[in-house]
């Protein structure tokens, strides 16, 4: 099967891109790295009538990593490789670099973008869990140049479905900065094959006070459900707790309860996914905790 014929546009600016989106309506599709859209088109699962290519927009208007007082700002066209290797991201949101590293292979990472990945909203997309875990915000712009901010939690609606409107373009992902001490995070991924998608991806974010007592502990899972599974219970349960092995076992039990209706495919059954959600949630928590306790080190 081959692609259906389509018109191709290469806008030079963001506003030109969103005007095109508006003009062509539901048949139009933005293309970033093409690493999800093109496979879908080749399989006949997507047949856009207009393709609007974002790669000709002036580079630093969508592909960048910036810092201000409170946040880390990542342009939507930043590639997985850039996320993996950016010193600012490594310093201020290590979990995202760690996540980028686990995606596919070098070729895909050199083309695929963080924005494309989240807009595609594949339940097994690796960024989904960590972005929810670090309370990221998504900024979108519409043809009227109106900017809307959506929390990661609200952004991922369902399988391949986000809160973006049809004429909106994702411009930026913002992650709140956190002190580099006594914060730890980790992303651990259970792949079905090297370079493959996640059966389960678990993101954990932990903060401890100076006595090692937990202020905050959160686990979010990719791959197990139609949208990221955010395990809120952990946040409630563990605030003020000393996170020892017993508490981590308890976290596992909470995760098991939180996973409803896990996905099932030829690589992993629903039961196995639920079980692995527990295993990898605990691994992520342990790792995040260990990192949070390495005081002074930049391990968040």
């Amino acid at each position: 099967m081959m692609n259906k014929p389509f018109d191709y546009f290469a806008p030079k600016s963001i506003s030109e891109a969103v005007s095109l989106l508006k003009k062509h309506g539901s048949g139009a599709k933005l293309i970033a790295g093409g690493q999800s859209l093109v496979p879908l088109m080749n399989l006949g699962l997507a047949a856009p009538r207009q393709i609007i290519d974002l790669t000709h927009i002036k580079k630093d208007s969508l592909s960048y990593v910036k810092l201000d007082k409170d946040s880390l700002m990542i342009g939507s066209m930043t590639t997985h490789s850039a996320v993996e290797n950016s010193p600012q991201i490594r310093r201020h949101c290590r979990i995202l670099s760690e996540t980028a590293m686990t995606i596919a292979d070098v070729q895909v990472r050199n083309r695929g973008t963080i924005g494309g990945s989240v807009c595609h909203a594949d339940p097994a997309g690796d960024y989904l869990a960590p972005l929810v875990a670090v309370d990221a915000e998504f900024r979108a712009i519409n043809p009227k140049r109106k900017v809307r901010t959506i929390s990661a939690d609200k952004f991922f609606v369902d399988i391949f479905t986000t809160a973006l409107k049809r004429d909106e373009l994702l411009t930026e992902i913002r992650v709140p900065k956190r002190p580099s001490t006594r914060n730890g995070s980790a992303y651990v991924k259970h792949k079905y094959v090297e370079g493959g998608f996640a059966i389960v991806g678990a993101a954990a974010v932990v903060s401890v006070n100076k006595d090692g007592i937990c202020d905050r502990a959160k686990v979010v899972l990719s791959g197990v459900s139609t949208r990221p599974v955010r395990v809120d219970m952990i946040e409630k349960e563990f605030r003020g707790e000393n996170l020892d092995e017993r508490a981590i076992e308890e976290a596992g039990r909470i995760v098991r309860e939180a996973v409803h209706d896990p996905l099932s495919d030829i690589h992993a059954s629903a039961d196995y996914r639920r079980e692995m959600a527990v295993v990898f949630a605990k691994r992520a928590l342990r790792l995040a905790l260990a990192r949070s306790r390495k005081t002074g080190a930049q391990h968040n």
């Binding site: 081959m2 496979p39 399989l43 259970h190 493959g196 196995y272």
Partner: protein, 774 residues
């Protein structure tokens, strides 16, 4: 014969590792595959394929497609005038023949089966117009599950056949009943050898170009068997083979699946004759997974009559083989090979086998690297481990107790083969040494004490290759007037690296440098005949045909040189590009000089024909039976069921070696494919016969990241079956690696006392075994 004798005195290249001559071209992207070939005026074909696994074809309407710009023609089977059906079995009363038109005309029997060919000016135009060909289908019940297909109430794939049984054979050798009566115990084993895909990197492809002036059809085909395909395509097209020339350019992998003729090959050839223009078709990856043959696909059962000391007195096996939608020649033969190699390296006197071959609405199954022998090795080698565990014997011990002893070769097996040569004890001993087996066991004990699930797997494999007495291989050698050497080799490489070992053989015989030698192959106009590259035939058969041709050339050149030098009774040496009497310190004549003389009828001995061209069709004295021992160490992560391979040792015996580096490369590639079957590969159809693994995201294969170092060693037990003493090594890895990994995992899981019945060893499945719900 003349009194002139020759002797090779210099250092031999045969037996040494030489870098492959063809690699610079492949690694620099200068190979020339089907899709690299473009002919003037070429049209592009695309195929309308059935979306149903099983359906009646009621109507095909191409009128809309034909109105599309660039579309030249749409051909259905009705328009393929005067051609025959695809081959099936003939005159085999025990087997159901399945008449199969080139393009499905009345019924489709698997999802993806071609029903029409569309021709257009560009590939895009062809693909775009495909969906405008309207085909009306009446869906029928698909047959999918092997067990269900065997039941009387099952839907049938072919309504003209009495059932879904393609054939049923029973073989019995020796006193099977007696053996089972004497047994201390009978061990029963049930295994599934799953359907997998050969998956060459280059998919299938064909270009046909008909020259009406000369009434000559030239076909470029990505194939393992140029002459065989020339003959088959000519036969189905009903044209004389003399009017068809077939050329195989570089072939990017075959692994068995390019040893057969496919409907597309015939349809594209017909189309070119029909429109009088060249026509090209290259398979997409999706078509490749959907329509290129699959392999393995057997349900296996074994019963072993065992004595308490581990001696196997008798073996009964039952194989239920998934034929797929049609009876092809090969899907009849391959399960029989499983039967024939079923007793492996063991001296088992009483042997019974029952084979059922079952039709399903899936792609026909044929040869995948090893073709029948990996399935045999899997069944017997898994069974030996299961018996060893039952009897609390070490896997080494049970093998030693049952091996065919060294002094029993040539050894006649109960299934009728004569194993040429073997030293199974010696090879196993070497494998134990190079793997430090005792140390591995100590490491395993330590790991177990720490609660880790570490396992060791062992397999002692044997296979049959070098097919076959009466079915040989050809080669010719030309020495040009300028003294260049051309080897025209039968068969056709699809990655193996034929050129270098063949050149090594000739370099030794003729005393010339490798750089003087050119190897060509893959064009039916070059040789009167050649046969398929498969079954590890090329070293034993093509190699021998090359050797014998080289000897003929040397003999003739000796006589010419002796004539020129005025010698009557001399031993001539061929060395360093010179031909000279032994002991004259290399004076004599240059190789070029003698070549030049050979083309002048007045300068050669009276009665001799001028020119230097020698041809040999070599038919071996016997099959060859290479063997070996593979040992793997794995670790299973208890919490997740993830299997990690820690160590891998392959110790193989393929007789004499021509080029150890090429041999080792063959083992590496084979082991990786074998690990693929054990760990991750599986063709999955749903209950409606729809292929779920139709992309490489779902049909996953091993990559470098998931592998370990393969430590390769060898023993050398020559064969008498050919003058080189070589046995063939193309399939060893795929045969040994699959059971060795599964044996190792089963050993790792021994605290849970489970049997691994299925593959691949997805973490999900392994975890279910640990939990006891598998």
């Amino acid at each position: 014969m003349s009194a002139v004798q020759v002797a090779v005195t210099r250092k031999q290249l045969v037996g040494t590792s030489q870098k492959r001559m063809e690699d610079p071209k492949f690694v620099s992207g200068s190979g020339r595959y089907i899709d690299d070939i473009k002919l003037p005026g070429m049209l592009y074909a695309a195929f309308v394929r059935s979306p149903h696994a099983h359906a009646r074809v009621l109507k095909i309407d191409a009128s809309k497609a034909l109105k599309q710009p660039g579309v030249k023609a749409v051909l259905t089977n009705d328009e393929l005038k005067g051609i025959k059906n695809m081959p099936t079995v003939e005159d085999e009363p025990e087997t159901v023949a399945t008449p199969r038109p080139v393009l499905a005309s009345k019924e489709v029997n698997y999802a993806g089966e071609a029903v029409a060919l569309l021709l257009a000016e560009s590939k895009y135009a062809a693909e775009d117009a495909l969906e405008l060909v309207e085909v009306e289908y009446e869906p029928l019940d698909p047959v999918h599950d092997l067990e269900a297909a065997m039941k009387a109430e099952s839907a049938k794939v072919h309504d003209y056949a009495p059932s879904n049984l393609s054939y049923h054979f029973v073989y019995e050798n020796g006193d099977v009943e007696g053996a089972f009566r004497q047994a201390d115990e009978v061990v029963k084993v049930d295994l599934v050898n799953q359907r997998i895909h050969p998956l060459p990197l280059e998919p299938r492809g064909v270009i046909a170009s008909y020259d009406s002036g000369n009434d000559l059809l030239t076909i470029w085909l990505s194939t393992q068997d140029p002459h065989g395909m020339r003959n088959s395509i000519a036969d189905v097209l009903n044209v004389p083979a003399a009017k068809v020339r077939l050329i195989a350019p570089d072939v990017g992998g075959g692994f068995g699946c390019k040893g057969s003729m496919y409907p597309e090959d015939v349809a594209v050839s017909y189309a070119s004759m029909h429109v009088g223009r060249p026509v090209k078709w290259v398979e997409s990856r999706r078509e490749n997974l959907l329509t290129t043959i699959h392999g393995r696909g057997q349900k296996q059962h074994a019963e072993l009559a065992v004595r308490r000391d581990g001696r196997i007195l008798g073996l009964k096996i039952k194989i239920v083989s998934d034929a797929g939608a049609y009876t092809t020649g090969l899907n009849v033969e391959i399960p029989k090979l499983t039967y024939k190699m079923g007793t492996g390296v063991y001296d088992i006197g009483a042997y019974m086998a029952e084979i059922f071959s079952i039709f399903t609405n899936e792609v026909p199954q044929e040869a995948y690297r090893g073709a029948g022998r990996p399935e045999a090795a899997y069944l017997i080698e898994r069974s030996m481990n299961i018996v060893a565990r039952k009897l609390r014997l070490d896997p080494v011990k049970i093998r030693q107790v049952n091996f065919i002893a060294k002094d029993k070769f040539p050894f006649r097996t109960p299934s009728g083969y004569t194993y040429d040569s073997g030293d199974y004890h010696g090879n196993l001993q070497k494998a134990l040494e190079v793997s430090s087996y005792e140390r591995l066991k100590a490491e395993q004990r330590e790991a177990r004490e720490l609660g880790r699930l570490v396992g060791i797997g062992l397999v002692t494999w044997v296979e049959v290759c070098g097919f076959a007495p009466g079915f040989g291989q050809t080669a010719a050698i030309t020495v040009t007037k300028t003294g260049d050497v051309i080897i025209t080799a039968g068969g056709h490489p699809h990655g193996q690296g034929h050129a270098t070992p063949l050149a090594q053989i000739v370099a030794d015989e003729l005393g010339v440098d490798l750089s003087k030698i050119t190897v060509v192959h893959g064009d039916t106009s070059m040789l009167p005949w050649s046969s398929v590259t498969a079954g590890s035939r090329s070293a034993p058969l093509t190699g021998s045909a090359v050797l014998l041709s080289a000897r003929k050339v040397r003999d003739k050149m000796s006589k010419i040189a002796a004539h020129k030098l005025g010698l009557k009774d001399a031993k001539l040496a061929f060395e360093g590009g010179k031909i000279f009497p032994n002991g004259d310190g290399g004076k004599g004549l240059t190789f070029e000089k003698v070549a030049d003389l050979a083309y002048d009828g007045e300068k050669i001995p009276p009665g001799m024909e001028p020119t230097l061209f020698e041809y040999t069709a070599f038919s071996p004295a016997n099959y060859t039976f290479p063997f070996g021992t593979h040992i793997a160490m794995v670790e299973v992560e208890k919490e997740t069921g993830v299997v990690k391979i820690l160590k891998y040792f392959a110790t193989d015996d393929c007789g004499k070696l021509i080029n150890p580096m090429v041999v080792e490369g063959q083992v590496h590639g084979g082991v990786v494919q074998g690990i693929g079957q054990a760990m991750i590969e599986e063709i999955v159809y749903d209950d409606n016969g729809q292929l779920l693994t139709s992309t490489l995201a779902d049909y996953v294969i091993p990559s470098a990241e998931s592998l370990v170092e393969i430590v390769w060693n060898r023993t050398e037990t020559p064969t008498y079956a050919n003058p080189l003493g070589v046995k063939g090594i193309g399939e060893a890895g795929t045969i040994a690696a699959t059971p060795v990994i599964v044996n190792a995992v089963e050993d790792a899981l021994s605290p849970y006392d489970v049997t691994v019945e299925r593959m691949p060893l997805r973490s999900d499945y392994v975890r279910s075994l640990i939990k006891g719900s598998g």
